[in-house]
Subunit: 333 residues, 2 copies
């Protein structure tokens, strides 16, 4: 069973893996370039993954058989384990608990070489709908306090398989970075009685210099204090704390915003490695008034080095106004 260990100074949690731990010569971990031949995520290879949790499929096809359009399976090498109790223990001054949680893989398309730049908008809609379905289902498990949905695209962004996929991890504690955002938003709300994200969106729409994409419900922009070159956030224009509360019609405009924004980034930056992460309220939903869900996209163009690790300070060689200008000139609608 993995362990959750807490740093006694910063209160940062770490998951340590104790089954078959890696040794000093197991690094660097090279990504498996299966080239579609023996890819566990390709149609026809369904038996190479754990049994599917859900799928969207063609009529009259069976679970764990070809015919799916999006397929969700448990991660074969989970960082957290779904079965067991959340035993908490102290070891002297240290705190730890069992690594209980969920770790799922969302296989985004049957096409091994597919990508957000080439797939249809309908496929993107299916992907974000699967995110919402899995989010709502896992939120009912009272052991989980946060549900993180994210994508690693490209080896430099941490992807270990090249078949397009995203991941979902449900954690038994609220992660530190999430708490920082929630606390920051709470302080602003107590001071101003307004949601800080709503104020940011209003200012971005009125200034216009960092806007990358806009539709009826969503806006994509380069944040004022972008940590990374071409960092882009997509947020609902209307206040909503939890991604799980996204409505039917909003799924379509969200898919459209995500599709349009990623196509601009992929074209302008020549298929860069990237991560995206959905930032949403913790499952307890105590922050409904002041938190505002959004998605953050981080192209991985620069290396994070000692200065960033030591300080939490980032050096960004592309001002966000420049990034937005380049993306708007990409010729992608």
């Amino acid at each position: 069973m993995p362990q959750l260990r807490k740093d006694p100074v910063t209160k940062r949690w770490v998951i340590t893996i104790h089954e078959n731990p890696k040794g000093p010569r197991d690094f660097p971990v090279l990504p498996t370039d299966t080239n579609g031949h023996n890819c566990p995520f390709c149609p026809g290879h369904e038996s190479q993954t754990p049994q599917e949790v859900m799928s969207y499929r063609e009529p009259n096809t069976l679970p764990n058989q070809p015919g799916w359009r999006v397929r969700v399976v448990p991660n074969r090498y989970p960082a957290l384990q779904i079965e067991g109790d959340l035993d908490r223990t102290g070891i002297g001054l240290y705190d730890m608990m069992n690594g209980i949680g969920a770790h799922e893989v969302i296989i985004e398309t049957p096409d091994h070489h597919g990508g957000f730049d080439t797939m249809s908008r309908d496929q993107v809609l299916k992907i974000v709908t699967s995110y919402a379905d899995r989010y709502r289902d896992l939120k009912r498990d009272r052991r989980f306090r946060y549900i993180l949905i994210f994508k690693n695209s490209g080896a430099a962004a941490g992807a270990s398989l090249d078949h397009p996929h995203s991941q979902l991890i449900a954690t038994p504690i609220i992660p530190k970075r999430v708490m920082e955002e929630v606390e920051g938003a709470k302080q602003y709300f107590y001071y101003k009685e307004r949601c800080v994200f709503c104020d940011v969106i209003r200012q971005e729409l009125s200034s216009g210099s960092r806007i990358i994409h806009e539709n009826e419900n969503f806006v994509a922009f380069a944040p004022f204090a972008s940590r990374f070159p071409f960092e882009t956030w997509i947020a609902p224009k209307d206040h909503k704390a939890s991604f799980g509360d996204i409505e039917e019609g909003e799924l379509e405009t969200f898919a459209s915003a995500l599709h349009g924004t990623l196509r601009k980034l992929i074209k302008t930056l020549n298929s860069p490695p990237f991560n995206f992460i959905i930032h949403t309220s913790p499952c307890d939903e105590l922050c409904t008034d002041y938190y505002h869900w959004h998605l953050e996209i981080m192209p991985r163009l620069t290396k994070v080095a000692g200065f960033e690790w030591g300080s939490g300070f980032y050096v960004n060689p592309v001002p966000p106004e420049e990034a937005a200008r380049h993306l708007l000139q990409s010729g992608v609608a």
Copy 2:
């Protein structure tokens, strides 16, 4: 002039570079492999760097000429600029200030192919002595609130030149990660009336299972909640908040601990890319009772991906007890 921009939610600061900003086709930035031929840090090429700030040299040699053993110069491409005023401005709800600070390069050895595994202990002593000298000098500038000393070794760890060097950045604000540590240590102190680092060191020495190196004044250990495989911290056994207060004799035992630990890591992991960072108290020294300076070494064996960015949670496939065991078996004294 670089700008310091603050994220309104998380209060994280970012330095944006506005002079000659990079464009979408300037990535990835490839490290310059000079192979010693045209390296600006090699002896004889002193005119390729800004004028030196200090150096330790052979008798009867001149500044900015060969004959040095350690040489400190301003960074030619500084993230922060030494000259100017710290103007602060608001832009709507956003906050920013001028990017004032110091950014220096410590050239660790004249030997282009030198490294901590092959250099003498005396050379390591010269390096850490130069850190302390520069720290104390810059601390007198009242515009600076924190002095960060770090090393990026290897392209995957963010080094852009392969000649061995470390860096120093003095910042006009206390970085967020530093404040988190200071606040965590303060909370523990208020609760226990003891320094949390002193308690950690006591527990590590008594358990022994994560110890990697020990001498009269310093101990190196794999922290209980290691974020990265083979992460190693070196801390003074006696309570001391600021690296700047390190004494003459302690410089020798610190050099010895750093040398021994890095030699173990370099041998066991086959010359891995790594970062190290000195964590010290902010310049105001308000936390003398409860902060405890130390150095953190992070081999860069795994990729930080979406989960880590989104959560601040880390997944570590090598339990620290295993890491310590491998390092003790390295055969390095």
